[in-house]
């Protein structure tokens, strides 16, 4: 089927008015999703390498918009590699490359001429270890992306406050915005990183084990946050914590290691079904703790 051009109702623009992307094109061949909306991301036959080692093989998945998709699987199955392919962070690693198709708003993020930095503005990322800019204040950490965009001062202040509210951090830091970000606890720093990610208003937020370095209470706060954020953002989260995946996500994808050591996606489905009645025996074996 040929893609269908549609009248773009919104074109995201640079601060100087230049369109960030070409007019929206919706691929009518996209598989139907339960919500009947176009997928936030369409991944087709994605493969990834580190040098000569193939880390991912033939990944196909459609990510539903404004939902939480969890990616689970044993260590070394390529979950984090896959995540990094979704905003072109994978190729930052020397010797790493990816092939296949990742469609964002109907356009391939790997198409020639596409600026990876602009992709990462639309598809942000939060990492396992909180990484606030150590030399910057709480305010400046959140504002950094906006300053690079050239946003006006008034907008920056408003957007910083909104982002800190969204990250459920505002009340804890509103009286010390100009203190160093490193003065915050680990859980607070991770929420700060989340605020920084959403300040530039991405469509998608990728989270690579966002709570694995946090205590149980901080972990639950991050999970609550994710549940609130999905009203506005599409979230894809890699996690080793199956109970977390079961608690927060709408859809779960299960990765496994093939005999040739490449990772593959063996099952994707509604989270409730994956954890109560998985269809693939490998999923069953993994989530019941018999393997992995």
């Amino acid at each position: 089927m040929t893609p269908t051009e549609v009248e773009p109702t919104t074109i995201r623009q640079e601060a100087n008015g230049t369109p960030l992307l070409r007019p929206l094109t919706i691929n009518a061949a996209a598989e139907a999703l339960p919500s009947t909306e176009a997928p936030a991301l369409s991944v087709r036959d994605l493969q990834a390498w580190y040098g000569s080692f193939q880390a991912l093989k033939g990944i196909n998945i459609q990510i539903a918009p404004r939902q939480i998709t969890a990616l689970i699987g044993p260590s070394g199955c390529g979950k984090s590699t896959f995540l990094r392919c979704l905003n072109r962070m994978h190729e930052v690693i020397p010797g790493a490359r990816a092939t296949g198709e990742v469609l964002f708003e109907g356009q391939s993020i790997y198409a020639p001429g596409i600026n990876p930095v602009l992709i990462r503005r639309h598809i942000g990322m939060v990492f396992q270890k909180a990484n606030p800019f150590p030399t910057k204040s709480i305010f400046e950490n959140v504002a950094s992306g906006l300053r690079i965009q050239g946003a006006p001062k008034a907008m920056i202040a408003e957007r910083v406050e909104r982002s800190l509210h969204q990250a459920a951090l505002w009340d804890e830091v509103k009286d010390k915005l100009h203190q160093p970000a490193t003065s915050l606890s680990g859980g607070q720093q991770q929420r700060l990183c989340l605020a920084r990610a959403v300040a530039v208003e991405p469509e998608i937020v990728l989270m690579d084990e966002p709570a694995s370095a946090l205590d149980p209470i901080a972990t639950l706060k991050i999970e609550e946050l994710m549940m609130q954020l999905k009203q506005h953002y599409t979230i894809i989260v890699v996690t080793h914590n199956m109970q977390q995946a079961a608690r927060v996500s709408d859809t779960t994808g299960v990765f496994m290691v093939r005999p040739d050591r490449a990772g593959e996606l063996v099952e994707v489905g509604p989270t409730r079904q994956i954890f109560t009645n998985p269809q693939d025996s490998r999923t069953e074996a993994y989530i019941t703790g018999r393997i992995g």
Partner: protein
């Protein structure tokens, strides 16, 4: 294979469900024997032993909850625990019905029998066979077998209809038999309810095996659906 401790706990839980099932099976058979032979002492023993069955139910429930809280079961493990929680509830209610029949035996006491009991003991026999088979199906997570067992509920329903018609005839012919006949009708009804409870167990086995909850319908309902 991982999770050996958890697997042993699951096996232990399953064994406990089977032990409870065996206690209930015994209660059904003993209460029916007591009714048939007017053995008031045996009836009293069935009533007394119901307490142990109640305690077994609570013990197994606690065991299930502990495993859910500590082991975070998923998929088949979770379904097995959920099934076990429901099955022990059904077993406990079946034991209550058996104890109910034991009380009926005591109430009837030494009244002269209306007729030799044939259909009521036959109902109990079928219930016993269904119960044993249903628990085997639970262990094996065999949904096909579960369906076959559940369909035998039709047999018990037909026997109950027969008992009902026969006792009604007695009551209409001789009103002095109404008291006795009504108690026998209650006894038959208790056995009919036991068979219904076994059908519930079969539905849980289907859920365990397939992940789907569905009601297994009786013959009349199935015929209606197919018409």
């Amino acid at each position: 294979m991982g999770r050996e401790t958890f697997q042993r706990s699951l096996n232990d839980l399953q064994d406990n469900v089977l032990v409870m099932g065996s206690m209930v099976h015994q209660a059904i058979q003993r209460s029916t024997t007591a009714l048939k032979t007017r053995d008031l002492r045996l009836a009293g023993a069935v009533i007394a032993d119901d307490e142990a069955i109640n305690e077994e139910r609570f013990r197994i429930e606690e065991q299930c909850l502990l495993l859910i809280a500590t082991q975070a079961p998923m998929a088949t493990d979770l379904r097995r625990l959920a099934a076990a929680l429901n099955i022990v509830t059904d077993l406990e209610r079946m034991a209550d019905h058996a104890a109910g029949n034991a009380r009926i035996t005591i109430i009837i006491g030494n009244e002269p029998p209306l007729k030799p009991l044939i259909d009521i003991p036959r109902m109990a026999e079928v219930c016993g066979e269904m119960l044993n088979a249903a628990l085997d199906a639970f262990v094996a997570a065999d949904s096909q077998k579960a369906y076959q067992i559940a369909y035998r509920d039709d047999e018990v329903d037909q026997l109950y209809d027969q008992v009902y018609r026969e006792l009604l005839t007695f009551m209409m012919a001789d009103p002095s038999t109404i008291n006795h006949a009504t108690h026998l009708l209650w006894a038959a009804h208790n056995l009919e309810r036991i068979a219904d409870r076994i059908t519930n167990i079969c539905e849980r086995v289907v859920f365990l095996s397939t992940g789907r909850m569905a009601e297994i319908k009786g013959q009349t309902a199935r015929a209606y659906d197919n018409s």
